[in-house]
Symmetry: C2
Subunit: 181 residues, 2 copies
């Protein structure tokens, strides 16, 4: 489906959703849903584990012919862990991601909150970029998280910054089931 230079025609797209606003993870989930609807094979990897079972985890069970879904993190944020424990979990999570990316079984891999692994120094950016560059032909990758690094942005085909204009927490509204998780 891609045109342009020959290199790109064999490559899937790398999409990055970054910024401080809401909608990064949901945009990635929407991409996964859309791809699954076309029968593409999708792997969704969430690097941050929430406190509660998420709606997406439950919904993707119903699309399990197309979508493989894994939560790889531990704790609500990586900061909750000791640095060493968090780093160990982060590296193990990245090992799984690398395996999924290289497997050749997927048309789309979602790396939700990947930027945290990079920004907290759990994985080296150059290792990450190498895995992305050497991914199977035609594999699309969606990366989400705040503060996407220069290298990730440079490698990406599409980058959207989700910019917070207004947020309900500011007016005392709590996280809402089905909306926030």
């Amino acid at each position: 489906m891609l045109e342009g230079d020959p290199q790109k025609s064999r490559q899937g797209l790398i999409l990055v959703f970054t910024g401080n606003g809401k909608g990064k993870t949901t945009a990635a989930l929407g991409q996964a849903l859309r791809a699954a609807g076309h029968g593409l094979k999708v792997c969704v990897l969430q690097f941050i584990k929430g406190k509660w079972p998420t709606g997406e985890a439950r919904a993707f069970q119903r699309l399990s012919d197309e979508v493989e879904f894994h939560v790889l993190g531990s704790g609500f944020t990586w900061e909750a862990e000791s640095h060493e424990a968090a780093a160990r979990v982060g590296r193990a999570a990245w090992d799984t991601a690398r395996e999924k990316i290289g497997s050749g079984r997927f048309d789309l891999v979602v790396l939700d909150e990947l930027t945290y692994l990079l920004n907290y120094g759990m994985i080296r950016e150059e290792d990450c970029l190498a895995v992305l560059r050497e991914r199977p032909a035609g594999l699309h990758v969606v990366i989400t998280g705040r503060d996407a690094s220069r290298g990730v942005v440079d490698l990406a085909d599409l980058v959207t910054e989700m910019r917070e204009v207004k947020h309900p927490y500011a007016s005392g509204v709590k996280a809402s089931k089905g909306i926030e998780f």
Copy 2:
């Protein structure tokens, strides 16, 4: 699930995804997926009809216990129509949206590309805002589209601007099935 002032505790949230970047519709779809996963009842209304059957239309068929999905537009953009024909379709689309919002059957209604109806003058902003204000207690609404109007932003609880940082069309890459539609 909401706290704060008593008015808000009975009200669902209004979320707006606007801006010139990619991810507005997919973020809305992700919200719908997440809500459906929690068993919430969702109505997704798309005001712009594409050329091809979308992945989301197909995927939501598999979640039809929770998600009702309608494409209300005609043509790839409203601009493709004569002004009068487009206005008629726009008003009919809004009548459907108003009926779904007021029905009391849903926990979440997605109004995808609603801003086009407002920005092309097919529906009056004050009518739209009145319907949103008077919606059933607890109903969440997600609105997407470029150039969300002042009134919509003011009414919203959460607004994210999706800002285009990098777009593949700039490097000659065509729309990709499963990604763009």
